[in-house]
Symmetry: C2
């Protein structure tokens, strides 16, 4: 997976606007953000990295031409991918985050007092360095004493954990990968879900960003759900609304080892103090995020295996 | 309101892409759709009208530079603005649609067997003519025997109804206006909600597209909710997800004359036959569409009057 990208993020800026276009993943549509200043552009060992200050969305991180986060709306993604699995778990202590070197997910995970340790596995140290510099509200918890950073390939890390003792396995794993081109391609295949299954303990819950939503390639998404269900019988789909993601939303795939666990409802409630730290997540939207429009429900949850 | 627009929709197409930009309503962001062929462009008496065939969203109608609908995702809007108020009403018989000359809302309203008559009030006959020509799946019910088309200003129509007998007033009114520039500007002020109140009978329910969502100008949206609540004590906010609308979603303001009516849950269920005709709406998503992320819930529903 160690190869440079063919994309030059800087060339996606024209007349002062950055435009996100992908003939492969969302043909015929593109989101543009007005650029105030380019803060960084480089090719790391793994991908093309662009950071710019936008006129109305704060600082924006772009990997291989795809928007990863903006300061204005990042909480919608970080909170839902973190708190849905964490509040669906009775007492998560050990958490693994794969990808997510920007630190946004880590910031959310450490809000749970019951969490004792968080391993962050990020392949690209440049993402961490740039986030510390340009996304301070996201990277703010990277130095938290509960957090251990591993600069490694997520696949290799999972293979090692699969051979470990049960007490080294995880209660919650969060796959905060980039999209399935470039370094994250293998995160969307059956072998990955099997590795995740082996790295979770018996109460374990997994969540993965689907790099899709119901308005994009729903046939691909439906196939991805089938892959997940072939490993985890208890697999559900939910989503979060994020204006800088394509079509304004992103799908999340949630799986539990325990087939009887109700993933659609939190099994713990945020304390009043915890709730004041949450801008997007609440127990009601946890539940609502699993409810789909009819055509999507039929394709994602009702179609035969 | 009879004045031509200063916008030239044709000039928003560059290098084969149409781009929707508004410094006033959504500064710093823009959605682009790839254009296969421009089907129509004109200035009507009221507004700039552009119709093009896009590469991946079907035919697209643009008024004054703002996307009104695309064939690929229009059902998400039409179904939610129609079926939320219609299924929240025990037995809607008389329905008024203001704006919506494309016919999409009409198509949904006539799916309810209990609806006996639908008045459509559209100021711009060109929109109706173009929809019949280029959006046949939306305009298909305009000739339904229950439907009467009035080529009039919605405000004037409402003033007349306000003086009418109770049996001429409406069970459900749907405000399917364009955005608050151009001919629809007055649809977002207190006087309009008062006129709507006078045009509803005692069981009446109103829904209006807010031309906003929680990710855009939420302060303005919160103010609009206060205006609605100053007329209707029973006012709620819900939303639908539509990828070709700014930030991927659109807010809907729902009001009932009956202060005790639960707008958040349908009081009738779709019959199995009705449900097979619905691609987006179902009773679960009716409920879920009223559930907001915490920061939006606080600003829209919890802030003091």
């Amino acid at each position: 997976m160690s190869n440079s990208s063919s994309i030059d993020g800087h060339k996606l800026i024209n007349n002062g606007w950055f435009t996100e276009i992908s003939d492969k993943h969302f043909p015929g549509q593109g989101l543009s953000l007005k650029v105030e200043e380019v803060l960084h552009h480089s090719q790391s060992e793994f991908q093309d990295i662009l950071v710019f200050r936008s006129s109305t969305f704060g600082n924006v991180l772009v990997l291989d031409g795809i928007i990863q986060c903006s300061e204005r709306d990042e909480f919608a993604y970080q909170e839902m991918i973190s708190h849905v699995p964490l509040f669906a778990h009775r007492e998560p202590k050990r958490v693994l985050v794969i990808g997510g070197g920007d630190g946004g997910v880590i910031r959310e995970v450490v809000k749970h007092a019951c969490v004792k340790s968080v391993d962050l596995v990020e392949i690209d140290s440049t993402v961490i360095e740039l986030s510390r510099r340009y996304l301070p509200h996201m990277s703010c918890a990277l130095d938290n004493s509960k957090v251990k950073i591993h600069l490694r390939d997520g696949f290799q890390f999972l293979r090692d954990i699969g051979h470990a003792q049960d007490e080294e396995k995880y209660d919650v794993i969060i796959t905060d990968s980039s999209d399935p081109d470039g370094p994250a391609e293998a995160f969307f295949q059956k072998e990955y879900f099997q590795l995740l299954n082996n790295a979770l303990n018996e109460t374990g819950i997994l969540i993965a960003q689907a790099s899709e939503n119901v308005w994009l390639d729903i046939a691909y998404l439906s196939g991805l759900m089938k892959i997940a269900r072939s490993v985890f019988q208890n697999t559900e789909y939910c989503y979060t609304t994020v204006p800088t993601y394509t079509s304004g939303q992103l799908g999340l795939i949630v799986c539990a080892k325990n087939e009887a666990l109700d993933l659609k409802n939190p099994c713990r409630m945020p304390t009043p103090d915890e709730q004041t730290q949450l801008m997007y997540y609440n127990p009601e939207i946890h539940f609502a995020s699993f409810i789909l429009p009819t055509w999507a429900e039929n394709l994602i949850n009702q179609s035969s295996p």
